[in-house]
């Protein structure tokens, strides 16, 4: 039986990275960077979510089928967001 036992030190390292990234998000939000603020905030959030999914949720070690399901979920989410937003970004204000 193949078990993917992730070492404790990996979990501790991931937790520390997540906490550091949380502090960075907070500090960056206190500085005015214009439109970059939201871009940086989302980039950090995406990094944190990737860490949680890959290590805590073991996506890194999961079967190919599980990865396909995750990829499909993300693809549908992208379709939901982009197709809805095509309306809002193409509207002319009268």
């Amino acid at each position: 039986m193949t078990t993917r036992v992730v070492s404790e030190s990996t979990y501790i390292f991931v937790l520390l990275a997540l906490l550091v990234l949380t502090v960075v998000t907070y500090l960056v939000s206190r500085v005015d960077l214009g439109k970059l603020n939201v871009v940086i905030a989302l980039a950090i959030a995406a990094t944190k979510v990737s860490l949680v999914a890959l290590y805590f949720m073991h996506a890194r070690y999961s079967s190919r089928l599980t990865r396909v399901v995750i990829g499909a979920g993300l693809a549908w989410l992208a379709i939901l967001l982009t197709l809805t937003l095509t309306d809002y970004v193409t509207r002319t204000k009268f």
Binding site: E8, L15, A41, L81
Partner: protein, 212 residues
């Protein structure tokens, strides 16, 4: 081996296949959850891009320190769940029980802090539908922000309450020595759910609390 066989449902070839099937099932469910929250995030994106200034003003009414502390609380709780899975895998009973207990307690801490925030909004007339009041310009836009805030954090909190119920059951089952390195699927699958609730909060935190 006789013990291992008792865990095996008769429609599976072996425990490995049984565990993978359960994990896949949870991931499929979590992807439907992703689309549920995705709809809310889409609504949020549309309204924030339509009313950027009012969303920033309204966001400043939320307590960024509490939001930050709650983010850390959920991250450490996820770490607890990850440790408990590790404990189950290596037959570390203490680690399994402590990891789940840490997650459970921190989940409750999160809800208490969230409740404190909700009460604060109630006192300051920031709950849409009750007695919403906004002395600054564009109250109708601020109301949309607060509606989305309550809807998104509320749906998230409901998920966390379900997560707490799941972890409570897992703790008692672990205490009764129901899990072993051969069979710990409920811990792994329940853990996936807990981490997903954390994942949603990781996005809610900057989007609601940290708008400039």
């Amino acid at each position: 081996m006789s013990e291992a066989r008792s865990y095996l449902e008769l429609h599976f070839r072996d425990l490995e296949q049984q565990r993978e099937t359960a994990e896949l099932g949870m991931w499929v469910f979590l992807m439907t959850e992703l689309l549920l929250f995705g709809g809310l995030f889409t609504a949020y994106t549309v309204y924030r891009s339509t009313y950027p200034q009012t969303f920033a003003l309204a966001s400043h009414e939320l307590s960024a320190p509490i939001g930050t502390i709650n983010t850390a609380v959920l991250l450490v709780s996820s770490f607890g769940v990850a440790l408990s899975v590790h404990g189950a895998q290596v037959n570390g009973r203490k680690r399994l029980l402590v990891g789940l207990a840490v997650a459970l307690l921190l989940g409750i801490v999160f809800l208490v802090l969230k409740g404190y925030e909700y009460h604060d909004h109630y006192v300051h007339h920031q709950v849409p539908g009750l007695d919403f009041a906004w002395t600054r310009p564009q109250p109708e836009q601020a109301q949309v922000f607060f509606f989305l805030y309550f809807l998104m954090t509320g749906v998230h909190a409901v998920h966390l309450i379900i997560g707490i119920a799941i972890v409570t059951v897992l703790w008692f089952q672990s205490y009764r020595r129901r899990y072993s390195p051969e069979y710990y699927t409920p811990v792994e699958v329940g853990g996936l759910y807990w981490h997903f609730v954390d994942v949603i909060w990781i996005f809610l935190y900057p989007l609601l609390y940290l708008i400039r």
